[in-house]
Amino acid sequence: MAQHEMTTELDECARQDAPGEDFVRVLTQSQRALYLFILPLVSSPADAEEVLQETNVVIWNKWGQFEQGTNFLAWGRTIARLEVFRFRRSRYHRMALLGDDVMERIADRSEASSEDLEQRRDALSHCVGQLREKDRELIRQRYSGDVNGDQIALQLGRPANSVYQSIGRIRKTLLECIRRRMAMSAGGVR
């Protein structure tokens, strides 16, 4: 088919009006990055969930403002920052608040380390593989269900404190391992 003919044919394609599949897909794909961005900025993982939910609502309602072809994640993070701010004002007024400048620094660091998510994910995968069988199992239990340390402690018949300490120790090990691998990769860049 000649190019000219194809042009005419495609001119007849309707443009989309509502947030379509593509938008939903990209929103879905960015959930993890957004959540990880928000997490260090609030008081607890439960709060992060809530802020993410608020952020999604705003993103959804403002979809028309998103410029196709621009960086979705950057746009999403901008919205998330605002939601964090709003959330903190409404919730944490009773608690000692971190200064704005500290929040700013946390946000910067958080944004930076959610840039190379794939790499971190693979580093995590490798590092979990390096754990001792027992440790890996414990982490699996902790994170594969809606269980917390107390429930695991009950299951295992161990004091809760001890379980929490173990999990904490394993996370420290993982963190060290991941940081090392990320540093190695950074060193290997041309």
Partner: protein, 699 residues
């Protein structure tokens, strides 16, 4: 970990588990405000917790209700899914695998990119790099740094293998078994080939296998170029072959390729990697070894001469390339040298026999290992420091022999001390200091009535062409691992020896065999006889294999230049390729000085495309060049797509692929001007083709 670090991490842990007391929280906030390190650690730790949550299948109850109702497959909140697994493939940044550090395709692509830029002079819209804004406000290309709107095109499921039949070449005899040139002892070639055909045919009957149909021209021409020269053909080269009406075109191409200098290079690359690996040890001059080998293959020197020169080499490693082989393996009292020599030149695994007899094969004993090892006991590595004209120093090595003799001691498994003299194939030295042991070894090899060296080379070469050898693994021949086609192996071995170890003739025999003309597709009946599934190969077809990293590198170069209408340029040197390949290599420290190649089939695709940025720059450039070529001005989108598929996988696009292309074109054109949409759609297809398993296999 310091106590400060421990403290912040403990606090972070409590934060994650929601067990922070008021006082601890105050302490945490104090640390975050006053210590950068604490802040960074905190963020990293907390995000690790978040990652673990996602990996474990947890999803926040977060997406708006409307989103849940669409067809995108988003699950109802709370169910255990990880919707972002799709994100793994988002954008042109494919999977980055931590095991392989950051791969830079720079070497290939930057040079290609710069060549294209140079060649295009004062580029126009399509040739622009970076995000140029056009007058209508749209960007030239999709942005980096984010999640793209459209998923990359995956073409594997659509790959249609060509089954010839409606093809014009099918009716003609694929290979003419007649003489090729005048004046050469040709009837021997024909006889050998006929014998191969006969024996394989028998084997097919015995195994109730029916051979594949003859491969189409498209499939065969790509296979031939890759097998001989280590790269895919350019579009022009492929078209020339396909369009040719000569009844003996396959024979003619084989002859051309046999004498093509890139074939010599390809063999030299393969053998350099076998002899000293890819990772490069300090002081070893890989380039010099490569040059030596390339010369040997280019001049078609007898294989046993090459082997002998490698074994008996003497001199400075920057001047006498062949010395680099042994120099790389003389550590640990030459035990690696012994193992590597046996593996490469005899296809025998002897390294374990260092410590004990072979577990299953009688006759392969510990003694024999040390008897072989003894031949290398005189070899000495001498370091030499040269002062170059510019005043810098360079360290080189000299390989030489000391005048010494005597026995080689070793200890058996039950603690007995034994001593041996150099012995091979029944020939033993006296152990006198004046004997030149390595020279003697070469003489014993030539006199070996078992023709071990010849047999090993036949096995390797057969595997190179067919994707499987007569034994599996190919470098573990012996009574414990009988060959699949003993008579055929013998025939070829004898012929090889009688031809004076003529490597070209060996390649010709294999390439002209009836079996090698056949398609690699699987007939119903053949499905079980697949060596990759543990079945015995009967060579009823050519078994596909993944390209080596070197082949991938070269083939991408060819493909991208074909698309961009640039002539093939051989000025990009092997140093760049070595650097690129080197990133996939990891040295093991074991008895054989082995290394691993983290480059297997599926993984290779991902690794290849890892540094998406460079590829992302090259794609628009070469597609841009294609679009600007005057002969393409009036071509349809479909014809342009065909140019891409020809350049990468040497065939026309399948209907399914064409559909994918049109869908992509349509999607893109809803948000940007048509010319941009066309360029992007073509880029996406090119990306898809380069990433496909069809591209990366030799079949």
């Amino acid at each position: 970990m310091t106590s400060d670090q421990n403290e912040i991490l403990d606090l972070a842990g409590m934060w994650c588990d929601e067990r922070l007391s008021e006082s601890s929280r105050t302490r945490l906030e104090h640390l975050l405000s006053t210590s950068d390190e604490a802040l960074n650690l905190f963020v990293d730790y907390v995000q690790l917790h978040g990652q673990l949550q996602w990996e474990g299948g947890w999803t926040p109850l977060s997406l708006p209700a409307e989103a849940v109702g669409t067809e995108s497959g988003v699950t109802v909140a709370g169910r255990r899914t990880d919707p972002v697994r799709q994100a793994r493939y988002s954008g042109r940044r494919a999977i980055s695998i931590a095991a392989a550090a950051i791969i830079s395709v720079t070497a290939v692509v930057v040079l290609v990119v710069s060549q294209l830029q140079l060649d295009q002079g004062a580029g126009t819209d399509h040739a622009a790099t970076g995000n140029e804004e056009h007058s209508d406000g749209s960007s030239d290309r999709l942005p980096d740094g984010g999640v793209e709107l459209l998923e990359p095109i995956r073409l594997d499921s659509l790959t249609a293998r060509n089954i010839p039949g409606d093809n014009d070449a099918a009716g003609e005899s694929a290979v003419a078994n007649g003489p090729v040139e005048e004046g050469v002892a040709l009837h021997d070639d024909a006889t050998v080939v006929a014998r191969i055909d006969e024996l394989l045919s028998q084997s097919w009957q015995e195994n109730s296998a029916s051979p594949s149909v003859v491969a189409s021209d498209e499939e065969w021409v790509r296979r031939a170029w890759l097998t001989f020269t280590g790269r895919i053909p350019t579009v022009a080269e492929a078209q020339e072959f396909i369009a040719s009406r000569s009844p003996r075109k396959r024979t003619e191409l084989v002859e051309r390729l046999l004498h093509n200098e890139q074939s010599a290079e390809s063999l030299a690359v393969i053998w350099t990697n076998l002899l000293i690996g890819r990772s490069g040890s300090r002081g070893i001059d890989a380039e010099a070894l490569f040059v030596f080998l390339e010369g040997q293959f280019r001049e078609n020197r007898p294989w046993n001469e090459t082997v002998n020169r490698l074994l008996a080499a003497e001199g400075r490693n920057d001047q006498v390339g062949e010395t680099n082989f042994l120099l790389a393996h003389l550590n640990n009292q030459a035990t690696p040298a012994t193992a590597v020599v046996a593996k490469l030149f005899f296809c025998e695994q002897v390294h374990c026999m260092q410590c004990h007899d072979h577990p299953t094969a009688s006759g392969l004993e510990q003694e024999q290992f040390w008897e072989l090892n003894a031949f290398f006991k005189q070899a000495v590595r001498e370091p030499i420091t040269l002062t170059l004209p510019d005043g810098t120093e360079k360290r080189v090595w000299r390989l030489t022999d000391a005048e010494r003799g005597g026995v080689t001691h070793f200890e058996t498994r039950n603690g007995q001390q034994r001593a041996v003299l150099p012995e091979f194939a029944g020939h033993r030295l006296t152990g006198a200091a004046s004997e030149d042991r390595r020279q003697a070894l070469t003489e014993f090899l030539d006199a070996d009535s078992e023709h071990r060296v010849a047999r090993a080379m036949v096995n390797r070469m057969w595997a190179h062409f067919f994707g499987a050898g007569f034994t599996s693994p190919i470098d573990d021949m012996g009574p414990h691992n009988p060959p699949t086609h003993p008579e055929l192996l013998e025939t070829l071995t004898t012929a090889f020896v009688e031809s004076d170890y003529d490597v070209r003739r060996l390649m010709r025999w294999i390439a002209m065999s009836d079996a090698w003309q056949r398609a690699s597709s699987v007939e119903e009946l053949n499905a079980d006889l697949d060596p990759r599934k543990g079945g015995m190969p009967v060579f009823d077809r050519v078994y596909s294999r993944f390209m080596t990293p070197e082949e991938v590198y070269e083939s991408i170069r060819v493909a991208v230049r074909s698309v961009g209408r640039q002539p093939l340029d051989s000025s990009i040197g092997s140093a760049h390729r070595r650097e690129w390949v080197g990133q996939f290599v990891r040295s093991l420290e074991n008895d054989e000085n082995e290394e691993t190649l983290t480059f297997e089939g599926d993984v290779s695709q991902a690794l290849l495309m890892m540094n998406g940025e460079e590829i992302e720059r090259a794609l628009p450039l070469c597609v841009g060049a294609m679009l600007q070529a005057p002969e393409n001005a009036r071509r349809s989108a479909g014809e342009l797509l065909t140019q891409l598929s020809l350049a990468t996988i040497a065939r026309e696009p399948s209907d399914a692929e064409e559909q994918v292309f049109r869908n992509r074109y349509r999607s893109l054109s809803s948000s940007m001007p048509l010319p941009e949409a066309l360029s992007l759609a073509l880029q996406d297809m090119l990306w898809g083709y380069l990433n496909s398993s069809e591209f990366i296999t030799v079949h």
